[in-house]
């Protein structure tokens, strides 16, 4: 293997000098490699750490905030949810199928490392907007890869989102979220505390896969990336499944003191992280690591990102039992080292010491950069864009166009490739509600999950867009009857060394933080993926929010389908006619501009409380929030899902009708309810101080919208359904 210079490993001259100062000598090749991966953005968060401090991370529901493999929230009865979202963007750009598959494998390991049994997966995807062969190839590869891994593991994939936009051309985003269920007294942490404890590596053998993957993930994609790319990691979900079952068995028998998966930067990072939590040291002998290939140098063993491996710190004396359990599952479990008290990360190759550096220098010692933020030129221009310049499109034609937009159309082509029912807990399936709902067997409880981010809004106004992502997630959860508990996030941005990108990050995080505080949904875990750029520029800033909620009674839930002829349809929340950043502007006018509709956190909070109350009292028959495509799309989707039409009568009072139909202003939900429940509905809306207006009735075979008694839309549910259902399928054929 050709030796890399420290620069090729991604270290700057300044950083290299720092390392020399720490060691008081030149680092050897292995040590340089170890520092370079630990000090990469992916492992060290060196560009994002100061910004992340702004997130609220506490609350009575939080059992474990950021800092562990995943966050943990309490759901009562001695149970907790463990969850996290993670990116696998760059590997997926190079090899979509394996890149996505190994991304899923990685996030699954993060969850069962905590002792939790994974119960659901979600995924948030972004691809280029030109509907071309490359997008098709990426989408089908990524979806098949996600399905392959998750289906084989038997974890239902119950939700997610997918968007298409030109900025992701060449740099698609693949973010996977996993949620696990754990008993609060069985939570496992990644700590090496007892001096003298042995350190075991378990699972797959080590090969030369993905060496310097973490560094690769922390650089821009260029034509050269193909040459630079580490040898691609191939996922082995069968091995993943065995590893999961074996690890969960160890937890049940209380055999582990600490457990840590091997992800980015492999052994190096998992050992350093486990040791640094309690200020311990470690000594490992690379010659003991089971290998798949011959003649591997210590450097390769320490930096390999071979999948399906874990690190285990056994409870004293538990080694033999651990080996027996792994043997039952046909897996290797090998002691490779020990926890020491000297704070040194020491690597041996049999008898000789091949690396020796202070643990803390690798973790806490990672340099931190506060970059320059600079407002980009586009911001003011877009914010003050004069909407009067935009002509009004024909409402009926616009609705049809929007229904066919892949950003809005049915995602069935995607989720039908995922097993979303295995484990027999999925009660609101993908596409049927604003969030997925799962029961928890043996209790009356339910849980709900969603991921959200409208990155166009974040681009146009990072602060508002950041708030919006959090609010939309919470709103989606409330619509199915859940009380939002906490969130995880994946911050996908461009190159932070560019002041405009750093500005986007800073403001998006500020917006997310403000909303998370106001809605009492602290951040318990997350992931940062920077340098999402190609020569064409940075992606839209895409801070994806994954959120979880609790339903105290699984029977008190709601989906989005209109149910019954004669039910009344209402909009809850303040109706506004704002078109900035809308899908309508993009699809019908080719514009991605305008002032982003402002979020009002107080109103949002009241709305969420009202909606939860309505579902709890079973006053609403259907519930669907207004987001991409605006009210017209929300109505059409509820009609399509319910296979029944609606008759809407509104009055734009001379304002823009397209604003009324297609505005994506946050804080609004469309519900349907029986006439006999209206009185109570009004009463509750008043109590929660939420604006409410009745806009029509459910019934018939058509979606009819009248403005001021003039029919502006009349589309059969059948036709709407065909356009909406077939759009992605037609594109993928």
């Amino acid at each position: 293997m050709k030796e890399l210079t420290y620069r090729e490993m991604g270290l700057t001259d300044h950083e290299y000098n720092q390392i020399k100062n720490i060691l008081g000598r030149e680092p050897n090749y292995l040590e340089t490699g170890v520092f370079s991966v630990m000090w990469s953005e992916h492992c060290g968060y060196k560009n994002s750490r100061p910004l992340l401090r702004e997130f609220p991370t506490e609350g009575p529901q939080v059992i474990q905030g950021p800092g562990e493999n995943a966050g943990v929230v309490d759901i009562g009865d001695g149970q907790a949810l463990v969850f996290k979202i993670e990116s696998h963007n760059h590997p997926s750009a190079i090899e979509p199928y394996q890149g996505a598959a190994t991304g899923v494998g990685g996030i699954l390991r993060d969850i069962f490392t905590m002792g939790a049994r994974p119960i659901a997966m979600l995924n948030s995807l972004r691809f280029g907007g030109g509907q071309d062969a490359r997008v098709r190839e990426l989408l089908s590869g990524v979806v098949a890869g996600i399905g392959y891994y998750g289906n084989c593991m038997g974890i239902p994939n119950v939700g997610g989102e997918v968007y298409f936009n030109e900025t992701y051309k060449g740099n698609p985003l693949v973010n996977a979220m996993c949620v696990g269920l754990v008993r609060t007294d069985e939570i496992a942490l990644a700590v090496a505390s007892e001096v003298g404890s042995s350190i075991m590596i378990v699972g797959a053998k080590t090969g030369r896969d993905g060496i310097h993957g973490a560094t690769f993930a922390s650089a821009e994609l260029s034509e050269k990336s193909k040459e630079k790319r580490p040898s691609v990691q191939v996922g082995d979900p069968f091995m993943g499944k065995l590893l999961m079952e074996a690890c969960l068995e160890l937890i049940k028998e209380d055999l582990v003191a600490g457990m840590q998966d091997l992800g980015a930067a492999g052994l190096t990072s998992s050992i350093a992280e486990a040791a640094s939590k309690k200020g311990r040291g470690v000594v490992v002998d690379v010659s003991k690591v089971p290998r798949r290939e011959t003649d591997m140098a210590p450097y390769e063993v320490m930096l390999s990102e071979s999948q399906e491996r874990m690190l285990i710190i056994p409870r004293p004396g538990a080694e033999a039992r651990i080996e027996a359990i792994f043997d039952k599952w046909g897996l290797d479990a090998t002691a490779i080292g020990q926890v020491t008290d000297d704070g040194i990360f020491r690597v041996m190759d049999s008898k000789s010491v091949v690396a020796e550096v202070p643990v803390m220098a690798l973790t806490e010692g990672c340099p931190v950069y506060v970059r320059t933020a600079e407002e980009p030129e586009y911001y003011e221009r877009c914010r003050t864009y004069d909407m009067n310049l935009v002509p009004q499109a024909n409402p009926q034609a616009a609705l049809k166009k929007l229904l066919a937009s892949p950003n809005i159309a049915s995602k069935k082509w995607i989720f039908s490739q995922y097993d979303y029912q295995v484990m027999t807990n999925t009660v609101i399936m993908p596409g049927d509600g604003d969030a997925a709902v799962l029961r928890i067997k043996g209790t009356r409880k339910g849980v709900a999950f969603t991921t959200d981010c409208n990155s166009r809004m974040v681009y146009l106004d990072p602060y508002q867009g950041g708030m919006m992502a959090v609010c939309e997630a919470a709103r989606n959860l409330a619509c199915v009857g859940g009380k939002p508990l906490a969130l995880t996030n994946c911050l996908n941005f461009g190159n932070p060394e560019k002041p405009n990108v750093y500005w986007q990050m800073k403001h998006a995080i500020a917006g997310m933080s403000a909303a998370a505080k106001a809605l009492d949904t602290p951040v318990v875990s997350g992931n940062v993926s920077l340098y999402n750029e190609t020569s064409a520029g940075a992606i839209f800033p895409t801070p994806v929010v994954g959120m979880v909620a609790l339903l105290p009674d699984i029977d008190l839930r709601c989906d989005m389908a209109f149910k019954q002829d004669g039910d009344l349809i209402c909009i809850l929340g303040r109706v506004r006619y704002e078109l900035g950043g809308s899908e309508y502007l993009s699809v019908c006018h080719g514009l991605e501009t305008g002032a982003v509709p402002a979020v009002n956190l107080e109103e949002e909070r009241s709305l969420l409380e009202l909606v939860q109350e309505l579902v709890k009292e079973q006053i609403v028959q259907s519930c669907h929030d207004i987001s991409d495509g605006g009210a017209a799309i929300t109505l059409a989707e509820s009609a399509i899902k319910g296979k029944i039409g609606c008759h809407i009568k509104v009055n734009s009072h001379g304002a823009r009708v397209d604003g009324l139909l297609f505005s994506e202003s946050p804080g609004q939900v469309v519900i349907s309810a029986k006439r006999s429940d209206m009185e109570r509905l009004v009463q509750l809306a008043v109590e929660h101080q939420v604006e409410m207006r009745t806009i029509g009735t459910v019934g018939g075979d058509e979606i009819i919208i009248e403005d001021n008694d003039i029919e502006i839309i009349c589309l059969s549910v059948q036709e709407a359904s065909e356009i909406w259902s077939g759009a992605i399928e037609r594109f993928m054929k």
Partner: protein
């Protein structure tokens, strides 16, 4: 009645089947680890869905050699009820308990959806709670459910009335357009000659409770209980 759910490395619907028997049917059930070599005291076996051995090489091909399989084959040969669901069906094919083989879905994609099935017979241990020609709706989730057998075998399956379920539309019409995977003669499930071994691609355990959106799967399990009672055991 006592059920056994056979667990191979990579099985992933084992817990779902266990749950249905224990919680929904209220009967006794054990997991049977694939390395066990004998089986005693069971009235019915379920070979659950999943990806035994990763479904590497061919679905079901490696599982078929698990130590438990000779005992499963004995059990079946002695008339014990065996229900193979999805990967379980694939394993039964590889083990030769049912004829034919499985190919990749026509679309080459994994498909998770609901399908309509036509019940072809109700005089079996698995369908006595259903009506002949009744259309039931069950979930499917598989990448290789494209059942194949040669002409001769197909003729035999037909002559011996061994096709239990076929894919159809809501009104019971069979046709390739309602067949999700391209299987021969729209086959979704077949039994052996004695009628005590059923292999089916759809998942009855996923719709045996109201909360999961359907009860049609329950009828299949209820049929098993009924036949057991009738046999007076």
């Amino acid at each position: 009645m006592k059920f056994g759910v056979v667990v191979f490395p990579g099985s992933n619907c084992d817990a779902d089947c266990y749950h249905v028997v224990q919680t929904v049917l209220g009967h006794e059930v054990d997991y049977i680890w694939h390395q066990q070599a004998s089986l005693t005291g069971y009235d019915a076996l379920i070979i659950p869905g999943g990806f035994s051995y990763g479904d590497y090489l061919r679905t079901g091909a490696i599982a078929r050699f698990s130590p438990i399989m000779p005992a499963v084959i004995d059990f079946a040969n002695q008339g014990g009820l065996v229900l193979g669901i999805c990967n379980g069906f694939q394993i039964l094919l590889e083990a030769g308990l049912l004829p034919g083989a499985m190919l990749k879905n026509r679309s080459l994609k994994f498909i998770c959806d609901k399908v309509n099935l036509k019940v072809k017979r109700n005089d079996t241990a698995f369908t006595n709670q259903l009506r002949v020609n009744e259309v039931i709706t069950l979930p499917i989730a598989h990448g290789e459910g494209n059942y194949f057998c040669d002409e001769e075998t197909l003729t035999a399956l037909r002559d011996e009335n061994r096709i239990l379920f076929t894919y159809c539309n809501a009104s019971g019409n069979e046709g390739v357009e309602y067949n999700p995977n391209g299987s021969v003669a729209n086959i979704a499930g077949i039994v052996n000659r004695q009628g005590n071994v059923l292999g089916m691609m759809p998942h009855p355990e996923r719709c045996s409770e109201k909360i999961l959106g359907g009860m049609d799967g329950y009828s299949i399990f209820a049929s098993i209980l009924q036949s057991f009672q009738e046999a007076g055991r």
